[in-house]
């Protein structure tokens, strides 16, 4: 079955992974800007990173027939450095007209601090100013519930935000309901250690239905599995779910969400 991975960090993956993903049915992906495993020292590091995301990765993906999209920001971990964050935010508009940029992301919180919140709001302001969609990172483990509620407070306190153009990622059992009930899109991140298993993601689909719900692999440099979406497809098939329901979560919903960006082009042969 063809599918789209809406949140995968391909800069962390080998070219062999692109080939495997193509063989498994991946036809498109979106790659949010994230933490590199270390704090970068200057705005020029981010400029190079954004060139990688907008120029190099689309070409690498295209070798295997995969359409590569991306999102730009300085991530929450590095947002503790407020002055660097503001330099990066001021530089992002240079890249917003690149043909594979869908919006601003993955912005969010990490340890739920004041500085992270300040920079989150400045990213939101940038997205509104340039009419960009937003992709949101919610914290992990014990910080997730608090951080997700804080993020929703900030988004819902801004009347300029069109909630149908915001994807809140890494939802789990204790955060998914608030995200969906308030009109946002929700993404479940499938991860072998922390975050969510394919089985629990299938449970959430059964509990909340497929509307405004997606799944992704994260596929980063930590213990992660870039082919996690095919695992979810298998789990849903095993439970007897229809092809229509599965396709809605892994293909139709990403297309519907991404299509709100003028840079997203219809996929061929689908």
């Amino acid at each position: 079955m063809e599918y789209i991975d809406p949140h995968i960090h391909m800069v962390s993956r080998t070219t062999d992974d692109y080939e495997t993903l193509a063989r498994m049915g991946c036809v498109a992906m979106s790659e949010p800007a994230f933490w590199a495993g270390f704090d970068r020292g200057s705005v020029e590091s981010f400029r190079d990173y954004f060139r990688q995301l907008t120029q190099f990765e689309p070409k690498r993906a295209a070798q295997f027939g995969i359409k590569h999209y991306t999102w730009l920001c300085i991530n929450a971990k590095e947002a503790e450095n407020v002055s660097l964050s503001r330099e990066v935010i001021a530089m992002i508009p240079e890249f917003l007209s690149a043909p594979n940029v869908l919006g601003i992301g993955e912005i969010g919180l990490n340890k739920n601090t004041k500085n992270e919140s300040t920079i989150f709001l400045e990213h939101v302001d940038l997205a509104v100013k340039y009419n960009q969609q937003i992709l949101i990172h919610t914290p992990h483990l014990e910080d997730k519930y608090q951080g997700t509620r804080m993020i929703l407070d900030m988004l819902m306190g801004d009347s300029r935000i069109d909630r149908s153009r915001v994807l809140v990622d890494h939802v789990e059992e204790h955060t998914i309901q608030a995200v969906l009930e308030n009109g946002f899109w929700a993404g479940m991140t499938l991860y072998p250690v922390t975050k969510c298993t394919p089985q629990r993601a299938a449970d959430m689909i059964e509990r909340y239905g497929p509307e405004r719900l997606m799944a992704n692999s994260a596929g980063d440099w930590g213990p992660s599995k870039p082919t996690a979406i095919p695992d979810l497809i298998m789990e849903l098939k095993r439970r007897g779910h229809s092809r229509e329901l599965i396709r809605r979560v892994v293909y139709d919903n990403p297309v519907a969400f991404f299509s709100q960006s003028r840079q997203f082009l219809p996929l061929e042969n689908s």
């Binding site: 014990e142 997730k144 519930y145 059964e206 509990r207």
Partner: protein
């Protein structure tokens, strides 16, 4: 919350038949983890994380619904609705 019958394809009996061995395996993993702690030198009994695990196990054994959500909330930091005032962010 969906009540769409199309989203609930299997009966409880079918789910138990399909997934009993996986659930058995996970209980054994947890039991072995507790045995490992018991055998090791030192004691973790007074650690807050041990209390969280014990409370999580109680949730698994009670009669209430929404166990995964309740375990998640048990393991979560509290949310303060007045956080924006405390941070001076509006």
């Amino acid at each position: 919350m969906s009540t769409d019958p199309k989203l609930h394809r299997r009966s409880a009996e079918e789910i138990l038949a399909d997934e009993f061995l996986q659930a058995r395996s996970r209980i054994l993993d947890l039991a072995a983890f507790l045995d490992r702690l018991e055998r090791a030198p030192g004691s973790a009994e007074q650690e807050a994380r041990m209390r969280l695990l014990a409370e999580g196990l109680e949730i698994l054994c009670d009669d209430e619904v929404g166990k995964a959500q309740r375990v998640q909330l048990l393991m979560s930091r509290d949310y303060d609705p007045a956080w924006q005032t405390k941070y001076g962010i509006h």
